[in-house]
Symmetry: D4
Subunit: 219 residues, 8 copies
Amino acid sequence: GFAKVDHNRAERNGFPEVIFSMGKTPEQVASIMNTIYKHSPIVLATRATQEHYKAVQELNPEAMYHAIAGCITLGSPSTALRPYKVSIVAAGTSDIPVAEEAVVTLDAIGITTERVYDVGVAGIHRLFAHIESLRQAQVVIVIAGMEGALPSVVGGLVSCPVIAVPTSVGYGAHFQGLAPLLTMLNSCASGITVVNIDNGFGAAIAAGNICKAIHNFTD
Amino acid sequence: GFAKVDHNRAERNGFPEVIFSMGKTPEQVASIMNTIYKHSPIVLATRATQEHYKAVQELNPEAMYHAIAGCITLGSPSTALRPYKVSIVAAGTSDIPVAEEAVVTLDAIGITTERVYDVGVAGIHRLFAHIESLRQAQVVIVIAGMEGALPSVVGGLVSCPVIAVPTSVGYGAHFQGLAPLLTMLNSCASGITVVNIDNGFGAAIAAGNICKAIHNFTD
Amino acid sequence: GFAKVDHNRAERNGFPEVIFSMGKTPEQVASIMNTIYKHSPIVLATRATQEHYKAVQELNPEAMYHAIAGCITLGSPSTALRPYKVSIVAAGTSDIPVAEEAVVTLDAIGITTERVYDVGVAGIHRLFAHIESLRQAQVVIVIAGMEGALPSVVGGLVSCPVIAVPTSVGYGAHFQGLAPLLTMLNSCASGITVVNIDNGFGAAIAAGNICKAIHNFTD
Amino acid sequence: GFAKVDHNRAERNGFPEVIFSMGKTPEQVASIMNTIYKHSPIVLATRATQEHYKAVQELNPEAMYHAIAGCITLGSPSTALRPYKVSIVAAGTSDIPVAEEAVVTLDAIGITTERVYDVGVAGIHRLFAHIESLRQAQVVIVIAGMEGALPSVVGGLVSCPVIAVPTSVGYGAHFQGLAPLLTMLNSCASGITVVNIDNGFGAAIAAGNICKAIHNFTD
Amino acid sequence: GFAKVDHNRAERNGFPEVIFSMGKTPEQVASIMNTIYKHSPIVLATRATQEHYKAVQELNPEAMYHAIAGCITLGSPSTALRPYKVSIVAAGTSDIPVAEEAVVTLDAIGITTERVYDVGVAGIHRLFAHIESLRQAQVVIVIAGMEGALPSVVGGLVSCPVIAVPTSVGYGAHFQGLAPLLTMLNSCASGITVVNIDNGFGAAIAAGNICKAIHNFTD
Amino acid sequence: GFAKVDHNRAERNGFPEVIFSMGKTPEQVASIMNTIYKHSPIVLATRATQEHYKAVQELNPEAMYHAIAGCITLGSPSTALRPYKVSIVAAGTSDIPVAEEAVVTLDAIGITTERVYDVGVAGIHRLFAHIESLRQAQVVIVIAGMEGALPSVVGGLVSCPVIAVPTSVGYGAHFQGLAPLLTMLNSCASGITVVNIDNGFGAAIAAGNICKAIHNFTD
Amino acid sequence: GFAKVDHNRAERNGFPEVIFSMGKTPEQVASIMNTIYKHSPIVLATRATQEHYKAVQELNPEAMYHAIAGCITLGSPSTALRPYKVSIVAAGTSDIPVAEEAVVTLDAIGITTERVYDVGVAGIHRLFAHIESLRQAQVVIVIAGMEGALPSVVGGLVSCPVIAVPTSVGYGAHFQGLAPLLTMLNSCASGITVVNIDNGFGAAIAAGNICKAIHNFTD
Amino acid sequence: GFAKVDHNRAERNGFPEVIFSMGKTPEQVASIMNTIYKHSPIVLATRATQEHYKAVQELNPEAMYHAIAGCITLGSPSTALRPYKVSIVAAGTSDIPVAEEAVVTLDAIGITTERVYDVGVAGIHRLFAHIESLRQAQVVIVIAGMEGALPSVVGGLVSCPVIAVPTSVGYGAHFQGLAPLLTMLNSCASGITVVNIDNGFGAAIAAGNICKAIHNFTD
Ligand SMILES: Nc1ncnc2c1ncn2[C@@H]1O[C@H](COP(=O)(O)O)[C@@H](O)[C@H]1O
Ligand SMILES: Nc1ncnc2c1ncn2[C@@H]1O[C@H](COP(=O)(O)O)[C@@H](O)[C@H]1O
Ligand SMILES: Nc1ncnc2c1ncn2[C@@H]1O[C@H](COP(=O)(O)O)[C@@H](O)[C@H]1O
Ligand SMILES: Nc1ncnc2c1ncn2[C@@H]1O[C@H](COP(=O)(O)O)[C@@H](O)[C@H]1O
Ligand SMILES: [Mg+2]
Ligand SMILES: [Mg+2]
Ligand SMILES: [Mg+2]
Ligand SMILES: [Mg+2]
Ligand SMILES: [Mg+2]
Ligand SMILES: [Mg+2]
Ligand SMILES: [Mg+2]
Ligand SMILES: [Mg+2]
């Protein structure tokens, strides 16, 4: 039909093609998920609305909708990557939808997740209570809107890979996420890498790739 | 001559007109300083080079050059504001020239200063060692380049007025100070106010105005 | 629950955590206000709609809604800071919602306020009529959209701390408040500090911190 | 040769082609001025250096160099437009080169000029001393760097046409003149028109066109 | 009430305060128009909707609504300025609302107008048919969206003052009018002045000020 | 060595790899040109200085330097494409270096060129004198700095492909070529395509590809 | 009426004026299409909604609506250009509306089209399957949102003219198409030309002009 | 002295503080390197000039200067991380200095590196020759200026973590690296993370952290 599904992507990239639902009709999303589901034990659609979900559910009643994350999943992943943990740290309660997109994506990959939410730098002691737990993760994803300072603070406290996600939460000179994006790219805590504004999904895939790199090496 | 010196500014604004030397010839700076010095016990020129200083010194041998700050001063302030302390916190060693511009300006106003330098968020414990001292200041000026996260952290730890100064120290997506400027304007530590990039002078004047407000009220 | 309320913020920063309602459900705002109200005589929520207010009122019938400011308050502050006055100057009638956010926040802190509205620079004589009164304030907050020139004029006329708030009122090359933000950051009236676009709340907290600095010193 | 001089421009636009010297060799500027001088009693080159001047002077010893304005003139204009006055108001002493480019251009057109310099809004009383004189001008050109607030104040005080010129004088969030450009485009003093950053020449031509419109109508 | 109407503005600026209706309630607009109408034979409100009009009409049934221009007028101007003509040139049919805002404003000032619409540079011969008529105007206002090239072409053909108005008509790299704004500020046809994006009103006031300058001089 | 020359590019893209000399040492440029010259009858280096040329000439004394264009050529092209003509139209004399980069590149491809320089829109009649000749070209390249309006005018007058090149010639709100780039992307003369600022080389390659498309089809 | 239809545009530019429907009423679009249809065998309206279509259909029942492309056509083109093929390559399924605008425009010109959709660089092998077919086209139009890398890859593989169209498909640091626009302007595959964001129409007209250049030369 | 060296950073972050030499005097760099060298077997300074090197060498004759990378090293790392390989892929020869900064940093950490240079997308077959080798790396760093498309292509071909580094190599609408930065942030090859423009150092630290995560887990 209209879309050329990239079926050997799982082989090449380690995860099947994920559907970005924004700008697609419910029928398109349902049909693509279905096609991929024939070749893969797990399928994920992001940026999906209730309408997208309804169309998917009609074709596959076992599909699940993750409302806060705006994600649909079909099937479940293998358990091979369960020993690896990714911590998802979010600065404010408004950043939670982006954090949940990361959590659902990591769940779909089969990696263990830990949520550490509402620990922004205005009350930095809230973060300190979780440092030991963060130090046991293989990767830490740090999500922040407003001025986006949290990844710099986390990056100064842990030695594992830190992936920063700026969010569009803010107003005025925030410019829909430009402010925390620049903050994170200029972090003085070296070694922090950054993904696009609100891209919880991309951060999770990157974290997943790191866990797979550990897994493949150990094999 | 060419310039209309605003002689009653000290009366209106509490401090005589300060000369912004950039784009002025050494002779112009020397002549304006001289004119103001006739009406005021203290004169300050910012953004001044060695060449500006030489011309000033020729007319007024007692003039002093503050090389790191790029400032020239003539005379000395009254001691009325000595009981008030402004702490100047700088994130990195490259931010020191901006910090020194603030220090020299506060000295010219006659306010006590405290320097707390090289305490950026990548090693946040270095800041914690100074918290008690910061809590005894009337105002804290926080100066940072790179991602500019330091004012948010300081702002979460003290209750006095915090003035943030972004600096042009950085590269790439720093855009000559735009990154820390946006960071500071979007700070989740509420109550932080911001001045222009590299404007140590402006932060000091603002801090001075706060000290004078305390002084005037107490009077 | 979902949010980690920062209960000792009042101790550290001098005012309890304020709820930013945008992006939160009415139930979330009501529940957080309730929790904080158990530890504090006064609670404030900003950027709140009628819907937020209804949910809060259900739990706490004495809650008040400040419609123009978009704020909800619960309780009342101590009277310790009543001797201090902050003047809120607004350039145009469209800037009034931002000005009122500042007024309600200062009311919640317990500081005396004075409103001077619709005195933009296109008819500058309207401002001059209020100069004497402004000179009796401890802090002046100046709020302006369009080209944002008013703080520079006010800053040239008073010697107390001046906090400038750019607003998103304008169109075309205004870029939702970028124009007056840049104006204020570049003000030739030195000592002006700036907060984020439309951030009446932040300006009030900063003004409050200055009043507390006076209060603490005098103590 | 290399350039197609537009000889009937004086007829079409009321003033012969003016040479923009930046990026042209001294020889090119000298040769083009010479060619135009054969058809016109007055020739003007802007953005010219001492080197450009030397080459012009070799061909035409009577050429004059206006060093602060960076302009070269050859010949003199008719006296027909002497009854008209344009006032050139500049905010700071660093804005004077742009102001002088406007003055020299108006001199070349043959219009009377009045200089009102160093009257920025930080000491607005300095401007007030000149209001009566400004009200007798046919056009007022207002030149300002920093935050560029001066045209709004002038525009609120006079009823004749006001042309605003932003300058690149400033630093940090000034962005080489973007800040005052946006200020002027968003002026709440309606009827102000704006030219490019540092474009004193363009403002003078526009002012000249207004004087000619008066002259032509009266004829 | 809430607004400080600037009643002697007509005296100072030659036209009474004009109401910018965006962001004001219908009642506010109606009440302000009413107040001004007591002191002036003509009142104008711009950016007004049908709702604004209804509220105004209720208080003053003779009020008129100019739907394409989005303007309301009350009363009529003196005929003193009828001998002066301003031509309004618009590039595309989508630019007509901005052009009409200029026409209605000039009508309110009492100046004769000429409309020359849909003559964009993609078919430049359409403009050439009107050149003679344009050359008889005292001022030409040129309005263009898309790339905004029309003022440069007009400016090369007439010698009277040309005021350029960029519009937000376009898409993609147009950035809501930024593209034609920059085009007009950089016009190689010298002497063009520019107002804010979509600001037909401002261009008309500026053109009106030029006509008054002619009128006053001739007097 | 350090560079992987793409030897079959001529086969794939119809022209051998062109060396971008900026940021390369003279020795690197000389060595890469030499290597390519072994496989191709013609080699081109752009953005080359006199120093680059000297190093190339030492290895290949027959190399030629095109000073205004900043290009070095080695060898000569086949004559197969001589029947095709590309006209290069430049708005101002300062745009000539970019125009010459296009001319030298087209010469290297073996296509006939026609130069039409200094015909900017401020005196549009200068362009009209060349229309018949432009209509005989297979492609027209239009190069303009300042406001970049020329391609829109040319595009409205010819029916062949028009390629627009914005240049960095301008100042202030020109932003080093951003102004004419946006102008050209928004041209209302449909069918104009655009290349990067100052990229005369890219426009010539694109024009060359069009001529080859004609040549290949006719074959 | 309100619009000055440019009837000899077909003669000058090779295709009649195309109606840009955005911002026009259904009646305006219907009436302009009707007027042009009297002089031309084919008429095209772009950016048209179902409402526009209904009004057109009422006047001309044979009108056709191309829903995905948002275009209306009336009549059919001559067959003279059928031998020429333009390939339209689109990176993602969300870019298809822009691609279809190009296809419908080329159909209206009478040129053969080939669609190659959903072949973005994340699975570049999907493109490779079509290379032979692309190499037989006279022009390739490449349409991409997200990072916009596809034109660089296509440009490295074919030697015919390549026209790149950035789309607004993306989020966050995509800035509504700015990201792929910059990508395409900076392409290292030389000879790529670019049109405005989402401007499938413009790319098609440019491709059509190239085909006509082939056709005219061969004649 | 002036700097507060963060001695337990190696413990917290896994690598000692690295000196950013830009804006520091040679003496400052030499003294800080010396201080750190007392606590660590390896010290690294980036963005260092020959002058910085001379001062370091005077204190520590065994110091090494890596000229292309602009780095100084003192000492050598442990061999624990030698089994891990990071591939550094660079698009053009002008991107090599950034690539070498990454290589020297990884050498200092003690990780094996592989260089794959000059394989930009304009000749994508050059990359394909290295795919097997890239697939054996634990991490791939991809460095590109111009349009920055290379990481998207690499990301579509490998499954290990990919870190993208935009460079400032380009001109015009490149905006000193903004173009490839946006490209990389919007990559449709999911899982790519990005660091600041020209930040080879940061990419290397991030890659090192991934290798350490593998190493620690396997332990
Ligand atoms: N470093 C500085 N940054 C910003 N403004 C300054 C600085 N130094 C002096 N000023 C202000 O610049 C103005 C001087 O402008 P001018 O008339 O050009 O000398 C004075 O009003 C000072 O308050
Ligand atoms: N109007 C406002 N503008 C900016 N910050 C605010 C505003 N109202 C509340 N805040 C701050 O926002 C933070 C609440 O963030 P959250 O955890 O998302 O509820 C608190 O630290 C408040 O100080
Ligand atoms: N003036 C120029 N502008 C843009 N690209 C160019 C220019 N000259 C050469 N190029 C391209 O730049 C690439 C050379 O990159 P490099 O590997 O750094 O030498 C080649 O693919 C050329 O096609
Ligand atoms: N989708 C489109 N994008 C850009 N320009 C268009 C589009 N459709 C039509 N046009 C052009 O827009 C112009 C119509 O402008 P107007 O006078 O406002 O109807 C014509 O010159 C068309 O060539
Ligand atoms: Mg919170
Ligand atoms: Mg340090
Ligand atoms: Mg008002
Ligand atoms: Mg001054
Ligand atoms: Mg039209
Ligand atoms: Mg010329
Ligand atoms: Mg797809
Ligand atoms: Mg190469």
